[in-house]
């Protein structure tokens, strides 16, 4: 059995009346990129902060390489690099001063420091910028430096909370390529994200977090193939007044069809889960025709992680900033 770098068992945490974690458990194998995927407020950040030794769970166990983070936080801290969601760089310091600062906090000997700094600056593409004050850095450069600071001591595990939040596409791509490189070096990555795209591209394994618990776990491919479904999305033609009523009537009628496994509203769209779209499409069109409801658009697709999310939580995915906006 492969060794687990992270083992989390039945973690519970409440903030006053709000239950943030409701008995969450998972393990992460060495050298894997593990994604905690879920909407804001699902409990991802609380989980990552517990592993970063910043928050104590009310109940449960959390171990990093067999070290209990509650009993021996100081030993656990030596194994992790934590990069929080918000930018935590100091505008008055240069990039090199940041790396030196963290090198000292992790007690790196001065001799090892220079070489390590050079490597990291190169990894995140900041070579030549190291003596500039961070105040003048772009958001993407700041995030890259933030990541480099968390890697200075060659941690066994890096904890990344929403690393690509608010970054533009080229910077996101860069960050993704660094993470894949870390994986090559055997560093385990725990990634919190509410971007489906990020989870699909990077993660070896994904845990869907919803309301403080795990709704599903597996590789993105497995999770998607488990659904054994096609998704038909349709939008009915705009009409005055009774649009909502028409849509509800259609949903009711569709859910009675034998080939239809489930119907949900997702924004302006209606999503219909079917075993295979070839046989189901004609039936769906007929049904709409019989109700004389005009359909504006109709498409079908293999399920993505958002369908997986919907399937396991019963709610449409709204966490992705793209659908939010």
């Amino acid at each position: 059995m492969p060794t687990a770098v992270v083992r989390v068992e039945a973690l519970r945490k409440s903030y006053g009346p709000i239950q943030a974690l409701n008995g969450i458990s998972f393990e992460i194998e060495k050298g894997k990129i593990f994604g905690l995927l879920g909407p804001n407020g699902a409990g991802k950040t609380t989980t990552i902060k517990i592993l970063a030794t910043l928050v104590r769970a009310d109940e449960g166990k959390a171990e990093i390489q067999g070290i209990d983070v509650f009993k021996e936080p100081d030993r656990a801290r030596r194994l992790i690099g934590y990069v929080p969601q918000e930018l935590t760089v100091d505008p008055y310091l240069t990039a090199a001063e940041h790396l030196r600062f963290y090198a000292d906090l992790y007690h790196l000997p001065a001799a090892a420091r220079q070489e390590r700094m050079r490597e990291l600056l190169e990894l995140v593409g900041l070579t030549g910028q190291e003596n500039r004050r961070v105040r003048s850095f772009s958001g993407g450069m700041k995030k890259k430096l933030d990541l480099a600071c968390g890697l200075i001591h060659q941690p066994a595990l890096i904890l990344l909370d929403e690393p690509s939040l608010g970054l533009d596409v080229p910077v996101r791509r860069d960050l993704w390529s660094y993470m894949l490189r870390l994986k090559e070096h055997g560093i385990t990555v725990l990634l919190c994200t509410n971007s489906m795209d990020e989870a699909e591209r990077l993660c070896d394994e994904v845990a869907i977090v919803d309301r403080g618990g795990l709704a599903a776990r597996g590789s993105p491919t497995t999770l998607k193939s488990q659904l054994k479904k096609d998704v038909v999305s349709l939008e009915i033609a705009p009409s005055d007044g009774d649009h909502e009523k028409k849509r509800d009537t259609l949903i009711q009628a569709l859910s009675r069809l034998s080939r239809v496994q489930g119907v949900v509203k997702d924004g302006v769209q209606v999503k219909i889960y079917v075993e295979s779209n070839e046989t189901a499409l004609p039936e769906i069109l007929q049904c709409a025709g019989a109700l004389s409801i005009e359909i504006n658009t109709i498409t079908y697709s293999r399920p993505g992680l958002d369908e997986v999310f919907l399937h396991y939580t019963g709610r449409p995915w709204t966490g992705d900033p793209k659908t939010h906006a």
Binding site: K49, A52, T53, L54, D74, R77, R78, I80, Y82, V83, P84, Q85, E86, L87, T88, D90, Y92, L93, E97, R100, F101, Y102, D104, L105, Y106, H107, R133, C149
Partner: protein, 254 residues
């Protein structure tokens, strides 16, 4: 190098870099003492000659020094509060650095900047022709007293940083503390000239004893009794601040 020295040095260096690259913040905290020394000193010069019996700026300088210490050291914790607000502190807390080194690093840097400011105020006093009766030895004495006062005030400030959750509250506390603490002490006028209730408060204010000690070094050859009172009061004050601070830090930084 022992780990705790390496960490503390890292924190200290970060703050010294801030000090060097943020000259305006130092200029800003010097604003009040400079205005008081130049303008208030000037305005009351002739008015007070009869009652105080000497040059008012010379009389005022120790008060201004103590006020400089109070203002700068009491605002020293704000930087940690900013670190707390923007997540920098959490990040640092996830590293194996000891909690004490975070506090000690900041504490040392605040005291360095306070001493720098006191030196500038002494320089300003010199420009305005305020002689220091005890000479160079006296300057060291003045800086020593400044440090004794700064020690406790800085700890109180760091404690506040961990008790408060936003810097607006911190600035509000600074605003209602510093100047009143100056007026409720012997910084500007002799205690005898204060109304009885103000005198009572001034006698409970550690600043009074720091000012009296400093004044004796500037105006006369040093008054042993005043210096002894100063040392006792400030050591008790520092001890109390440390005791209170430790209680808060233990709870907040566990």
């Amino acid at each position: 190098m022992p780990e705790w020295i390496q960490e503390t040095k890292a924190h200290f260096i970060r703050w010294i870099i801030h000090l060097k690259r943020e000259p305006f913040s130092m200029a800003f905290s010097l604003l009040n003492p400079v205005i008081l020394l130049i303008f208030m000193g000037g305005a009351f010069q002739s008015l007070t000659r009869a009652s105080i019996g000497q040059d008012y700026r010379a009389y005022l300088l120790p008060g201004i020094l103590a006020l400089t210490v109070l203002g700068n050291s009491l605002s020293g914790g704000i930087s940690l509060l900013f670190d707390k607000e923007n997540g920098f502190l959490s990040r640092v807390m996830s590293t194996p650095t000891s909690r004490a080194s975070i506090l000690v690093g900041r504490f040392l840097a605040v005291n360095v900047s306070t001493i720098l400011q006191c030196l500038m105020m002494l320089g300003l006093g010199f420009l305005f022709g305020v002689p220091i009766a005890t000479g160079v030895k006296g300057v060291f004495g003045l800086l020593g007293i400044s440090l004794l006062l700064s020690f406790g005030v800085t700890i109180l400030s760091l404690t506040l940083a961990f008790m408060l959750t936003n810097h607006g509250d911190f600035f509000a506390i600074l605003g209602i503390t510093v100047l009143p603490a100056g007026f409720l002490s012997s910084a500007f006028v002799p205690l005898d000239s204060l109304a009885p209730w103000m005198r009572l408060l001034a006698q409970a204010n550690p600043m009074t004893y720091a000012v009296d000690g400093m004044r004796s070094l500037i105006l006369s050859g040093g008054d042993g009794a005043a210096l002894l009172r100063m040392a006792v009061v400030l050591l008790v004050f520092d001890g109390a601040a440390l005791w209170l601070g430790m209680r808060v830090f233990r709870r907040q930084l566990a």
